[in-house]
């Protein structure tokens, strides 16, 4: 199994309706929007039934409301809004005709019931997020957080999204990584078309058959550079590169195997050219740490020129797959 986590700071533009709602939260106010005879809270930009435009006719609702439905969270995770047991609940605020899904900090499930009256408990630090309202608590009286509202209307919301995956590793990939850890390329040759694949790809995409241990073949430790690019890195959150870096396509000599978008080791960008002969650089056992499984060739750090004369096939640059 391989664990991986992806995190990114997204930016949301809120528009005129959610912006007004979140601005009101910083002022410890809850607002809804009129839609025909109804008041919607949370407010929506459009009539959810007909899709019609809604005038920005906001009305104060709450602060107290009534629980319409609830679900007890007995064992909160790190991503839950409270660190102790609580209820997710639909709360219909006084003066509203729709329910707001939020948190009720009731102490125990025994304290929860449909029809329970609740009021907001506000955070001291409010920034225009739904969690400015920390939780609803039983009773009619809001619990103030103190302080004032936002200086400027809230128009944007930062959102640090994070998701973790656990991915099973297929047998072919396990064997491929084991070979890489020994400094070997593991090939899988299709018995029908004769094409060879690396990196533990357990199938032939041309013939649609599984490739398993019985199809393994040894591959040479020499390659030739076919096509390439030199990338000027864009600085996004999580970028690890600061200087222009190369990615090259490598044809393993004497085979039809092309390894695409490979890294080079100790090679100035000016020296990169089609026909350059290369040898793989393998990680030592000590270097094979948590990164194993992140790349197709776990033990392969990159490629280094051998110093031999360039290959001269004029159409090498077309060997891309």
């Amino acid at each position: 199994m391989v664990e991986s986590t992806i995190t990114f700071p997204y930016q949301r533009s809120l528009g005129p309706v959610l912006g007004a709602f979140l601005t009101a939260l910083t002022e410890e106010r809850l607002i809804g929007i009129r839609s025909g005879d109804r008041v919607l809270c949370p407010p929506l930009e459009w009539d959810p039934e007909t899709g019609a435009e809604l005038a920005h006719d906001f009305v104060d609702v709450g602060p107290a409301g009534t629980v319409e439905s609830w679900c007890w969270v007995a064992e909160p995770s790190e991503q839950h809004p409270l660190d102790h047991p609580f209820a997710f609940a639909t709360v219909r605020l006084d003066g509203a005709d729709t329910g707001l899904i939020h948190v009720v900090d009731a102490g125990s499930a025994d304290a929860m019931s449909v029809g329970l009256r609740v009021a907001p408990r506000w955070r001291a630090e409010r920034r225009g997020h739904l969690t400015d309202l920390e939780a609803f608590v039983p009773g009619e009286a809001p619990v103030p957080g103190g302080g004032g509202g936002a200086d400027e209307p809230v128009t944007m919301m930062g959102y640090n999204a994070s998701i973790s995956y656990t991915t099973p590793v297929p047998d072919n990939v396990v064997r491929s990584e084991a070979a890489a850890a020994e400094g070997r390329f593991l090939g899988l040759r299709c018995p029908i078309c004769g094409r060879t694949y690396t990196g533990g790809r357990g199938y032939c995409p041309v013939d649609s058959i599984a490739l398993t241990a019985e199809h393994e073949v040894d591959l040479p430790q020499k390659g030739v550079l076919t096509s390439f690019t030199i990338v000027t890195p864009v600085q996004y959150p999580g970028q690890t590169e600061t200087d222009p870096f190369a990615r090259v396509h490598v044809l393993l000599e004497g085979t039809d195997v092309v390894l695409s978008y490979q890294a080079l080791v100790d090679t100035p960008n000016e020296a990169i050219r089609t026909g350059l002969r290369l040898a793989p650089v393998w990680a030592s056992a000590a270097e094979l740490g948590d990164g194993a499984g992140d790349t197709r060739e776990a033990g392969l750090i990159g490629w280094i020129p051998t110093g031999e004369p360039d290959a001269t096939d004029p159409d090498l640059v077309n060997r891309l797959c």
Partner: protein, 388 residues
Amino acid sequence: MAHSPAAVVGIGQTHHKKKRWDVSLGGLVREAARRALDDAQMDWGDIDAVVLGKAPDLFEGVMKPELYLTDALGAHGKPMFRVHTAGSVGGTTGIVASHLVETGRHRRVLAVAYQKQSEGNAQFALGSGKGASLGAGGAFAPFIRSYIHRSGAPLDVGPMVAVKDRQNALKNPYAHLRLEDISVESVKASPMMWDPLHFLESCPSSDGACAVVFTDRAGGEAAAADGRPPAWVLGSAMRSEPFGFPGRDPVLPQGAADCAEDVYAQAGITRPREQIDCAELYVPFSWYEPMWLEAHHLAGPGEGWQLVESGATALDGSFPVNMSGGVLSSNPIGASGLLRFAEAALQVRGMAGEHQVDGARVAVAQAYGASAQYFSMWVVGASLDPFG
């Protein structure tokens, strides 16, 4: 074959910009959809089904946007579809919507595609959240290097496309980039981002949306009788192929050729460049104009760059390409395919304004995605029998 032809009777798009922070995500798609409905003289209640397309959810970090945007698109109580075929998704979204009409399942269908790139970062998303993301430019640059070698094209051809498309964009009020002073020299002097691609040979990151309203034969004929010319979908096709295997040629993919042959056959086209008046192709990086002209049989092998160099693909040339300014001028990724399809329809409706090709009767549009693995194309005509 279709049971009933589909007609495009409404087209709308946003003003594409680097940051559309004046609207919510819903507000963005709504802006395009409202313009399409107005163009079709319809309201939300007239629509039977909605088809939504966008690129991977990692771009904005909004999961299941098709559910989140249901109210913004008036889809309450209606079928709502999400389409996803990487960068080609906008084109595929239009094709799926047209099929819903052609099969007789629905009479009026709204297709919407969008991207709000400013909410996240495309290179982060394309790199699966890791460092050293190649970005799309880095992925395609080795293919472009191969094309330049095999075609013998002069190195100025890419910059010429970059200039031509940005000049067309100056005639399109919705286009993102407005580079008044761009020249082949300034393109070549711009930073090398993905060798051999310069910064100015690359598409921008845009926020934007596009919407198209489809109706059936009766609806299309009624619009025509009312003085609102429809665009008739004469053919549509999609192809996909694996990322890589020995023998695959990502410069001239088999899927690209098969897709083109299929769509031309449906439309009754045997001599594409003679019978088609103009083309709107998915060209996010300059060299993809000659590459797709060849891959889609609009030019012979090695002839694509000669069409560019001769000026044939300019707005006033014999075979205009990317009249709108193309992906090189506006790139809300998920919407970019539908924008191509919509531009082709605008042309045959005679409604393309300053970037109208005089007398355009038949136009082809194309979008591609992933590592040149997905292809979506359609041919639209001013009539159902433009060669009759």
